[in-house]
Symmetry: C2
Subunit: 222 residues, 2 copies
Amino acid sequence: MVTMGSVSLSTTTRTALTRHRERACTDRADLHAVLDAGLVGHVGLVRDGAPVVLPTGYGRIGDTVYVHGSTGAGWLRIPDGTPVCLTVTHVDGIVYARSVFNHSMNYRSAVVHGAARLVTDPEEKLAALHAIVEQLSPGSWEHAREPARRELAATAVFGLDLAEASVKVRSGPPADDEPDVVAGGRWAGVLPVHTVFGTPETCPTLPAGTPVPGHVADRRPA
Amino acid sequence: MVTMGSVSLSTTTRTALTRHRERACTDRADLHAVLDAGLVGHVGLVRDGAPVVLPTGYGRIGDTVYVHGSTGAGWLRIPDGTPVCLTVTHVDGIVYARSVFNHSMNYRSAVVHGAARLVTDPEEKLAALHAIVEQLSPGSWEHAREPARRELAATAVFGLDLAEASVKVRSGPPADDEPDVVAGGRWAGVLPVHTVFGTPETCPTLPAGTPVPGHVADRRPA
């Protein structure tokens, strides 16, 4: 019914697709585009043999995606080389079919498998944090105070290579069975889903009338 | 910097919180509310010792959340009792702080840990599919053709108990360090993020002018 899954790019066992092959994208530009349009990803880890999935911000430089967190945070207290999976999903529409069975979603998703590499080089770490902040809030790195040494020390950064990744996209109208189309009498179509930004809310500790800077006021969803 | 994590409700090792305890919610109603407001969740599995995270639709009945998929789909070819983690996240805002370090997101997230129970009872399976379809597209179960026997046979449904779950919420303005507030000269605040529905797109195989039914035309985000 709600059909979503994962696929292709590099074809290893875990990225090779099991169904809906037509939804696979094989272009690295597609992978980059799905990642670059996101605000939050879901990172998977194995803890005591069981999976743990947590939301996280991220950023991309070339074919590396970076995640970060407090060195005191539970989920980032992982050794260098820990197997992780980072998934980014955009819901683009609800697909209403004539049959319940053919209901679906329009979406774009990227699934990245790999070993989390602890970033220790100060230059790469700063570049990674810059990328993560730019992904969350373009323009903030220039506008806000840059990280102090103690803040950098309190932040762990991991890099994940995009070598083993898959992208899956569903778009367009419902795919109904012919007898359901012929039968008629039921609506089918797509209800588009969009992410939008509201009116910026200035921090109450700032003076009334403080203007909202352009990198916030003019921001549009990716 | 982009601080997101996971917490509480039942306090087992994996739901007990490691930081930002003030963001934990301990009410089951909060858990239900976060789940009920979502369109897509991210389910984690362990495959060959590595984590896999995939987007999926889901539905809730009481304290059980259900996921489903094709019996031919790779990720659902799992044995009864497989450990899974289902996470649902809503991004509510981008938190711009005076410092890069204190940038964050406003969000609501629910993390459910448990063993995926294969649903074999026909009545529970039908009720679960009803809940999944209602979550995706309220009103569709009544409007669309109900599943045929062969469609039900092609669909696997798993139930996940909400006994071990956590909810974490961040809301409100940025939490800047006092020296940064005093220093002034930098904007801080929240850019709200909303999910909205666009204009319904009627399937091109329907006659022009086919009216959009109320359960689609009048639908508003949860």
